[in-house]
């Protein structure tokens, strides 16, 4: 099962061609009908919200990192590093995401600067992941096309759990850094990173490896864990919240459909979580209209909710669906979460075979 599963989800495997032949690759996705004038208002961006939020975010990181250093040697250092690590190793994901889209700031250089910083913190190559994420938006949860499917069918449960302390991501990140530093890409990466962009990948990997080498050398020279707790380490001990948030996006939902209302969740979160996650809990809305900056997503939600299935009222409510769905998929790979649209909503997008949220069976794409 393991090898067959990996082949199905590989971008270098037969499902890629099957998706192209089935018309699922680069498909025409559903979008709610919103007047152009309103969309222009929602897409318009300003530097202020992201500068304010980034100043608070970096301020908190420096504050708790500084407290951790100052209190090093006492038990008080541990809660400080817990907060520092969570901010560094989890919430850098949403900063990476928004600035990767180029929507957080109006000023492009601010966006790019934070993108490079957040990419380093979250241990993702900024070039590879820019292209990877573009593909994720083109072919969301399309087998053989989407490189960012977190929960396969069946899920790789041990890896999912191990990743709550970053074990898989960090191992993979360092493996890839060495591959990239040697001037190569993986087969999957070669499917979506164009040739003219690849030199950036190799250069970044060499710089990142040098930074981590200096960090480890400092830890050895000073006989202290502090350098590792401050740089790189948070991607392990602070990764838990990243996974709590990220699995709410698509885990357990329908594959091979061209309608984000079927394969994506919008989850209601409190103001603290929305700050930490930069409103990515409005994920259906984000996928429908990726140009809308994070601070306008609550307004966008009001515009599209007439077309969408009910919002999950909390993270816990989402997990009450996700956990059983993932466990169910361990023994039934055709199982997925069904979504019901409200009365009067626009119907599910073709080629969804029926307006009941049914995903195309995996075998259909394979046989195409």
């Amino acid at each position: 099962m393991g090898r067959e599963r990996l082949a199905r989800y590989s971008l270098a495997g037969p499902e890629n061609r099957a998706a192209v032949e089935a018309g699922l690759a680069g498909g025409d996705w559903f979008r709610s009908d919103i007047p152009r004038k309103r969309m222009k208002e929602l897409m318009r961006r300003s530097d202020y919200p992201a500068i304010r939020d980034t100043a608070i975010w970096i301020g908190l990181i420096l504050l708790f990192g500084g407290l951790g250093i100052a209190l090093w040697g006492t038990w008080w250092a541990w809660p400080c590093f817990f907060v520092y690590g969570t901010l560094y190793g989890s919430t850098s994901d949403s900063r990476w995401h928004e600035t990767g889209h180029g929507t957080a700031f109006r000023t492009r250089r601010l966006d790019e600067g934070l993108y490079q910083l957040a990419s380093f913190m979250i241990m993702r190559d900024p070039t590879v992941w820019r292209w990877s994420h573009a593909r994720h938006h083109t072919d969301t949860l399309i087998l053989g096309r989407d490189p960012e499917i977190a929960a396969m069918r069946p899920a790789r449960l041990v890896r999912l759990l191990a990743n709550f302390v970053g074990l898989v991501d960090v191992y993979t990140a360092f493996r890839l850094m060495f591959v990239h530093a040697s001037g190569r890409l993986t087969a999957d990466e070669a499917d979506f990173v164009p040739e003219p962009e690849r030199h950036k990948v190799y250069r970044t990997a060499r710089i990142d490896l040098a930074i981590y080498a200096v960090t480890i050398a400092a830890a050895i020279v000073f006989r202290s864990w502090l350098p590792v707790l401050l740089i790189g380490g948070p991607r392990l001990y602070g990764a838990w919240l990243l996974n709590v948030y990220a699995l709410t996006q698509h885990a357990g939902m329908g594959e091979n459909v061209l309608d984000h209302r079927l394969n994506t969740r919008t989850v209601k979160m409190c103001v603290v979580n929305r700050f930490l996650y930069w409103n990515m809990n409005y994920h259906v809305e984000h996928h429908m209209f990726p140009l809308v900056p994070y601070y306008r997503l609550p307004e966008l939600h009001q515009e599209v909710k007439r077309d969408c299935a009910a919002v999950y009222p909390s993270i816990w409510a989402a997990y009450k669906e996700i956990i059983p769905a993932i466990l169910h998929q361990l023994r039934d790979t055709e199982y997925y979460v069904h979504r019901e649209l409200p009365p009067g909503a626009a119907p599910f997008n073709v080629p969804t075979p029926a307006n009941d949220g049914r995903a195309l069976p995996l075998t259909a794409a394979s046989a195409a």
Binding site: K40, R44, A134
Partner: protein, 104 residues
């Protein structure tokens, strides 16, 4: 060879906005800059052929609605990943309240 065709009325496009125009089976995008200049490009993004008319015009830049690829619509220049190929541009002019583009 020049071939001017009427694309739309000048008043159809708001300042700093874009309008779709189809002619001869080809999609075009007509722009009005903040200082009331008119410009025309191919209507589809060179990255994954998404209609640019649903995108965001900010100054002289059109941003693709699908992957946020950015072009300078006055020159067609691609401004970075995920767009690497420039957009074809067409001369545009306003005559008596009508926007013409040269598709020749």
């Amino acid at each position: 060879m020049t071939q001017w065709v009427a694309a739309c009325a000048a008043g159809d496009i708001d300042p700093e906005d874009v309008l779709p125009f189809d002619h001869g089976g080809r999609a075009y995008a007509i722009y009005r800059s903040p200082d009331d200049g008119y410009y025309a490009t191919d209507g589809l993004c060179t990255h994954e052929q998404t209609l640019l008319c649903d995108g965001l015009v900010d100054g002289d830049v059109i941003e693709c609605p699908k992957h946020n690829g950015r072009f300078d619509y006055t020159s067609g220049k691609a401004l970075g990943a995920p767009v690497l190929t420039d957009l074809r541009t067409y001369p545009a002019k306003a005559v008596d309240g009508t926007i013409y583009i040269d598709i020749g």
